[in-house]
Symmetry: C2
Subunit: 339 residues, 2 copies
């Protein structure tokens, strides 16, 4: 009950703060309402299919606020940072969707399919900028050295995001990959930003460097566990197995952890993979083959190990109050999800 | 002589500092050498055609350093800011070239035509991030409140850049534009960043707010004059008149200032424009028509007025030493150029 109360207070505050920031895209220049509209579409506020589902789960801003509270700070002060990480996440989705040529996101057309590649690239850039501007708003409530520290962590995280994305794009055309190529890629693409959320959340609360390091490890490990879980659902989740091409990583040829495991083994799955694109009709059988070779259990064990790592780090950070409890509940919810 | 000495000292220092920053793209992750290579290509250091011409003129970082010196500071301290603005400029070129589907830049293939759209978008994002990280390096030499101020000015400038680019893209498909639509677009696309260079340069030197306002006006007016001059060369420059389609704004259908002037008049030029794309064979005659209707002299007068505005603001800022002299010489060189 108490957990729900805290998160239920945070979610509308996050949404309000995001709106205040995104509105700035139309503040200096009264001709740029269209830019604001494109951002509002991406944020799930505008256009066909807008609403709660189109917004995503707002996991990253929640992680910031819960960590600030769990580390003994006032979560309201961290709202600029919470907005900043959610805008970074959405900026990267806008550009990733163009780079991956994805047509749908959260059940609706991606930004670039609706507004064209040129406007979508530029809208992503504007959102990226607004994110960093949002972070600098922390200055109104906390001392400048902490603000600069938070800004630097966010920037370094963005560099890691682009490094991870560089690897992801370059992996598409490579056939010589193995499991060891996987971790640096998801560390950049997924784990770095979740680690930044918890690290920044804790430094806003004034945590010492050891504690903020624990929170950082918590976020990073959670991010890796989350991504591996995503990989499992991408092959053995309900949507993936029904053969809808957009839902199955096998059909999309994605080099996820179970696939790399299968390729490393070099058995029947690897031989089938080498023959070229997998069709919807074959997806069930090939998923079964990969499971029989141990690809699913390998990934499940990785998720369990990473989750343990995350919860251990969280314990060492000694979170307080209902926010601390909410963080561990959030971990379990994220990893128990079926979609 | 003395002017050359100062700029000749600054240019290699800028190049060195840029290299130090760009190398960070491969620092945290030893698999990302390819990302570093793409940035080096864009910066003119690597690949076919690399060298001085491929680097561009480095006007923006020079403006930062000269302003810091002219406002009484040590220009070496401003090197992180100088690198930051040049990286912002190149980030925006990478993305603009994709958005405009431009095939060449500074006499060589654009990044996206060489490495593909996906990698080019992501490389631009990485360069954007490195730029902001570079700016935060100011912290080692000056107080945090000035660093935060410089970071905020740069972020707000990036927002204006994306607003200007939004207008530019949306203007492509509009036939109802007039001269008044022109200024907000180039204010974002060109003037904002030049204004940020001189404003940031002066605050690093510790200038008071009135003086840094003068420097900001100087940079902005210079940027507008520079863009209008570019528009003139884009129609009546040697390369444009020879009918090379990539060099003539008439063939590209660009709604530059002289074109908008002609459209506002609604005479023979406007009637020809309404008939659709202009071919290389017709470009000389149509340029002459626009000149006869006053499009060229209108733009030339605007350049003169904006240049006066820039030089007046510079005078009010009371620049000192050879850097001050170099700034006025730079203005004249930029506006006397023929390409």
């Amino acid at each position: 009950m108490s957990k729900d109360n805290l998160i239920e207070k945070m979610l509308p505050a996050i949404e309000n703060h995001l709106e205040v920031i995104v509105e700035r895209s139309n503040k200096n220049n009264n001709r740029t309402g269209g830019l604001y509209d494109m951002m509002s579409y991406q944020m799930g506020w505008l256009g066909e299919g807008s609403g709660v589902t189109a917004r995503g789960k707002r996991i990253r801003p929640l992680l910031v606020l819960l960590t600030t509270a769990a580390a003994g700070g006032e979560w309201e002060i961290a709202l600029p940072a919470a907005a900043a990480v959610e805008l970074i996440h959405n900026f990267s989705l806008i550009h990733d969707d163009i780079e991956d040529q994805s047509f749908t996101r959260r059940g609706r057309p991606t930004l670039w399919t609706t507004y064209g590649i040129a406007q979508a690239i530029n809208t992503g850039d504007a959102m990226f900028t607004l994110s960093h501007l949002a972070m600098l708003d922390l200055e109104y409530d906390i001392c400048t050295s902490i603000v600069l520290n938070a800004a630097r962590i966010l920037q370094q995280t963005c560099l890691k995001l682009t490094q991870g994305q560089y690897l992801d794009i370059s992996y598409e055309s490579r056939e010589d990959l193995s499991i060891e190529d996987y971790w640096p890629m998801i560390e950049g693409k997924t784990a770095a930003l979740l680690g930044a959320c918890t690290q920044i959340g804790s430094i806003i609360a004034g945590a010492d460097s050891q504690t903020s390091e624990y929170y950082s490890t918590f976020g990073k490990s959670l991010g890796m566990a989350f991504q591996v879980q995503d990989d499992i659902l991408g092959i053995w989740g309900n949507a993936a197995l029904t053969g809808k091409s957009s839902a199955s990583d096998l059909i999309n040829g994605k080099k996820s952890l179970p696939v790399l495991y299968g390729l490393d083994r070099g058995d029947a799955f690897a031989q089938r993979w080498a023959l070229g694109p997998i069709k919807a009709d074959d997806v069930y059988e090939i998923a079964e083959q990969l499971e029989a070779e141990g690809g699913k259990s390998f990934a499940q064990e990785a998720t369990v190990a990473l989750t343990d790592q995350a919860l251990n780090a969280l314990e060492k950070a000694q979170p307080v109050g209902e926010a601390g409890l909410s963080l561990s509940i959030l971990v379990k919810q994220l990893l128990d999800r079926q979609s």
